[in-house]
């Protein structure tokens, strides 16, 4: 039953992304709230459903967006894979892991999107994409990372209550 929390949280993330976050742009780029939320969720020790969240978020973002599900789904799966990789290596510095995953995940999303658009015969100038979309997106995602991490940590502790070790 506790896994059902994913439904309202993912829906809320995509709604906020579409209605608010996408209107707050630096140059032409904006943050990716679902990606940052997924990274923060996947970094929590108690969480075992990050892969499910990635699939659900990827499919839902693909449904809302003009892009197909490929780019969001692949980048969100990449985020979870990175989170599980870094969780074991930099477990003493979760914020460092959070920043690293956010950075690499945003880069991955840009690359996957460029690949998908290339398959759709839409050729975009890589320099423009990097300067106007990817770099501002990374900056905004980094700004979002800390508050989102705090919220998702509290959510994880609420959903998966464990005994506190003094």
């Amino acid at each position: 039953m506790r896994n059902l929390i994913a439904i309202p949280v993912i829906l809320l993330a995509v709604i906020l992304q579409s209605s608010i976050v996408s209107n707050i742009a630096v140059l032409k780029g904006f943050a990716d709230l679902p990606l940052v939320m997924l990274a923060a969720w996947a970094l929590q020790d108690e969480v075992e459903t990050a892969w499910h969240w990635a699939v659900a978020m990827g499919v839902l973002v693909g449904f809302v967006s003009g892009l197909s599900w490929f780019a969001p789904l692949m980048s969100y799966l990449l985020v979870v894979a990175l989170a599980q990789l870094l969780q074991r290596r930099v477990w003493q510095a979760p914020l460092l892991a959070m920043f690293s995953i956010t950075f690499l995940g945003t880069l991955g999303l840009s690359v996957f999107t460029l690949v998908e658009l290339r398959f759709m015969v839409i050729s975009l100038p890589v320099a423009d994409v990097f300067g106007l979309l990817t770099l501002p997106g990374i900056l905004l995602n980094m700004l979002l990372a800390i508050p989102v991490y705090a919220v998702m940590r509290d959510l994880a502790r609420w959903v998966y209550p464990t005994l506190e070790v003094e």
Binding site: S18, V64, G66, T113, V129
Partner: protein
Amino acid sequence: MALALGGYFSSNSNVFTSSLITVQSWFSSRFVALQDFLTSPRDIASLRQRNSELEADVSELQAQVIQLQQEVRETQILAELLDFSRANTENAYRAAAVIGRDPSPFLQYVIINRGSNDGIQRGMPVVTNQGLVGRVDAVIADAARVQLITDPASNVNVHLQNAEVDASLVGSVTGDVTLDLIPQDVPLEEGDLVLTSGLGGGYPPDLIIGQVVNPRKRDFDLFQQATVQPVVDFNRLQIVLVIVNFKPVDFSPLIPLP
């Protein structure tokens, strides 16, 4: 008593009464001070409570003012759109509010709150009273996704009013729109009005798009290019009109398969 009333004890009684008055004044002033001391904290608490109530009222009224200003603005936009639809009676319009944008910054789409339940279909053009916005790309029951003309995948066949020539308008990742496929021998000037041509059946003809602002002609290119300043501010889209009586022509069955 008779002596006192007659004034024989007046000096003695004056001394007595003045002493009494002094004592009473002393007690009275101390009592008032004590009363103030005991009651003033209660007054401050009640004042603070009243102040917080008034602050809450002010906040509520400010929220109402903002909401009313928003409603006035929407009403003004709707009035302008109504004037536009009355002036263009050849088309049937359905008004829709913009409720979101594409989650990806790579694409220029908006989401509107009208869908197939309101008669919206894929391919229908979307306009404002200022000019062309885009066309419906996907529809569900109560919402639709609109591809803006600034989208990198957008391609609109246009007509330059003064130059009397057809061209192609393409979007870009930066949100700029560019004219392409303009023959080299056509005199292109800044300020030339760009309208839809209706070729290809994707859009109805003569919808205003914008003005030419930066023509580029290079001898080694096959065609001229020009940047277009759209008349629609795509960053401030709130309410749009969907042309519901326009049926886009589907050429896909005529395209030979490889």
